[in-house]
């Protein structure tokens, strides 16, 4: 069995939004600290 397309979309969406977003805001926090 493989994952249905809608599940793959949800997986990609979740990863990009949650982990990508987290990485972005942490990066901004570090950038702000070094200013």
């Amino acid at each position: 069995m493989s994952l249905p397309l809608s599940a793959i979309i949800m997986l990609i969406f979740g990863c990009i939004v949650l982990y990508g977003g987290l990485a972005y805001f942490i990066y901004r926090a570090f950038k702000g600290k070094n200013k």
Partner: protein
Amino acid sequence: MAAIGSAVGLGNVWRFPFVCYENGGGAFLIPYFVALFTAGIPLMILEFSVGHWARGSPPEAFKKIGKKWEWAGWCTVLMPFLVAIYYIVIMSWCFSYMIFSIDLRWGDQAAHFFESFLGDTGTPIVFGGISMPVILGLIVVWFFVFLILYKGVKRIGKVVALTVPIPTILLIILTIRGLTLPGAIEGISYYLTPNFSKLLDANVWLAAYAQVFFSLSLAQGIMITYASFLKKKSDITNNAFIISLADAGTSFLAGFTVFSVVGYLSMNAGIGIESLGTQIAGPNLTFITYPTAISLLPFAAAFFGFIFFIALLTFGIDSAFSMIEPISSGINGKWKISKAKATAIMCGIGFCLSLMFVGGSGLHLVDIIDHFIANFGLVTIGLIECLILGWVYTLRKLRYHANEISEIKIGRWWEVLIKFVVPAVLFLLLLASIFQNITNPYMGYPWWLIVLAGITPLIVIFAISFTLMKIRPKEEPL
């Protein structure tokens, strides 16, 4: 870091997976993401702004807005205290499982073991025998909460520096093991595939908003309290985004761990995942899936099991003490009772109240109280917060306050969300869910029990809040 510690806790690794399972797996994720971005993050920014602006406990913050609104502050600190009463029971289960993991005592039948460990009576009406391991766990956990809190917020920072990263690493290890199990892909498919027909069910939406509130520690005065300790130049908006996304990211990850094992259990039982319901639905889900994953580790299972349950405990302890901190700060702020004394009083009361869950009916009582506190209590307090802060106090002032010290500037969209969108959504969801609960009582429990265990605690919280507002310290004029 302390706020991340508070937000990331058992709400992610214990509550999120079972709420997700009960609400149809992938069907739950869409409402969850919508709730996170429309209510979770905006309210997180709101609570941070209020706490940072007021520089005091929630009752003090609401009193600063208007003397007659102090009760709302007391509501927000009493709600997490009520949550702590059963939350620490879950931690005491974790404590027992930490001991059990030394010899993997749950064996091959983790589901059966959990029931026999609690002496489950199968109903909330029959109290049953008392579980001594649960009482021992309660004593240990409440004592640790007191120890960490009585010295104040400085100690919290030191504790969470360790208790946030370690459990996350262990969760990743268990997720990898779970994903490599046979049948895992069916579980993941159930977890991620959206069921669009469920989007018409108000209960699923309410459960999603409630989960976001519970997990992000919103409408509980916790973030207001922590924000009051932040430095004057702290970046509020960025912090709010980091905490919210870290919290949701941990929940999303825990979903993979639990549902991969659910897929494995389903394959072993030879039945569909939905049909596993009676065995694994409810608060016991994680106490079946995590031990199963631990037992299946290729080496050092006992070692990893022991470390994992310590990690789960440390995950929980951050949230547990953050639930007691707001009420201790409130009492300390209003009546000038020392922090140590206020903490001791609240921990003592909390321990006594937790004892009602040590019997064979404990699992079911936790389920009922959690359902009503999270789904109705937290959502109602969130609604009240939006109405008071959005309509009574000038929300724009809070936005300017946040923008003044934050790198990311929030626009008028935030005001629209807090003033109109969030209250309207929460109000409609509450109405729809009340209607559904009246026509179809939760889990088919008798009405008198739902009123006693679910609705009475909420009424008591409002009554105590108004009473605490009326009791004035000696030096304060009327």
